[in-house]
Subunit: 180 residues, 2 copies
């Protein structure tokens, strides 16, 4: 991050920069990323007029040349990436065996270890790595894993100031649905 | 799957059952899942009247008791799970180092191996396992990995009868965006 780059985005969140000094797409909201890269202008949250009314995110909905279906879609921002990845992780726990084999337990542990190194939002990955160091994944059964992951998600919810999910209901939210 | 359960859903796709004989949520579309579990009725695609006009998916948008924000949302179906997981995987490739270390290469290989065992849609996981047996992950650089994953995604697009994505553009779609 060079000295003339903003430290805070339109949403009021701190701007995260990559090691090469460029703003990180998967670590910031799309709005903040576009603000810090000069694609949109506006005043940060908390200034006299509201951010919503002073900026505009241009639509990039044109088709890619040569394609009939693919639009020029932006890469996922930190929020879309988070939502998507939780979808995958909770669904994975929902399909984990009720009685996993030693190999399945070992692979699930390895998975979370590697995941904490490769998750594209670096600061999220660091937080997750710290979380699993202090709260080892519980892989002895589907229900254990589902609840452990729900707790891990709640720790993130807490950081974001969001209500915690009732982990007694993880199974309904991610496995059976609400009708059964 | 017992003999009185349908083999085909409203979308015309084959219904996938779990080992316990129950329909698999993460392997079928929500529409087909609701059809096969009797939550909606309707005629399969290809019958005299169109499926769209003869069935109705009930809204499950009520809040969970005790929560101010969480709705009774259905677990992801095969399509939502697929879209979410590709978001995660491509973003991961976009953040993979340009010059990865031996450990990073090894972890990426392990990751895909484990991923092919734990992906919640079983038949998708089996297909992916076969794919990586025949097309080992290319983990020597970010661009190699990004293109390899784009090819893997295209193989799925092909199976679904969907247009292939131009893999020369993987970097714009998943890393830089289209403005640069």
């Amino acid at each position: 991050m060079s000295s003339n780059q903003p430290s805070e985005g339109l949403t009021g969140r701190k701007i995260i920069y990559d090691e090469d000094g460029k703003p990180c797409r998967s670590c910031n909201t799309l709005e903040d990323f576009k603000f810090v890269t000069g694609k949109i202008t506006g005043k940060p949250v908390g200034s006299t007029s509201s951010a919503k009314s002073t900026h505009h995110i241009p639509k990039t909905s044109k088709l890619i040349p040569g394609s009939k279906i693919y639009e020029k879609q932006d890469p996922p921002d930190v929020n879309e990436l988070g939502k998507s990845t939780w979808n995958f992780l909770h669904s994975m726990a929902a399909k984990y065996p009720v009685n996993p084999s030693s190999q399945q337990k070992s692979e699930m542990n390895q998975f979370f270890n590697i995941f904490s190194h490769i998750y594209p939002c670096n600061w999220c990955a660091d937080d997750f790595e710290k979380y699993i160091r202090e709260n080892a994944p519980r892989v002895n059964s589907r229900d254990e894993l589902g609840r452990w992951l729900c707790d891990a998600h709640n720790q993130v919810n807490e950081k974001l100031g969001k209500e915690k999910f009732n982990c007694n209901l993880w199974d309904k939210r991610w496995r059976t649905g609400w009708d059964e």
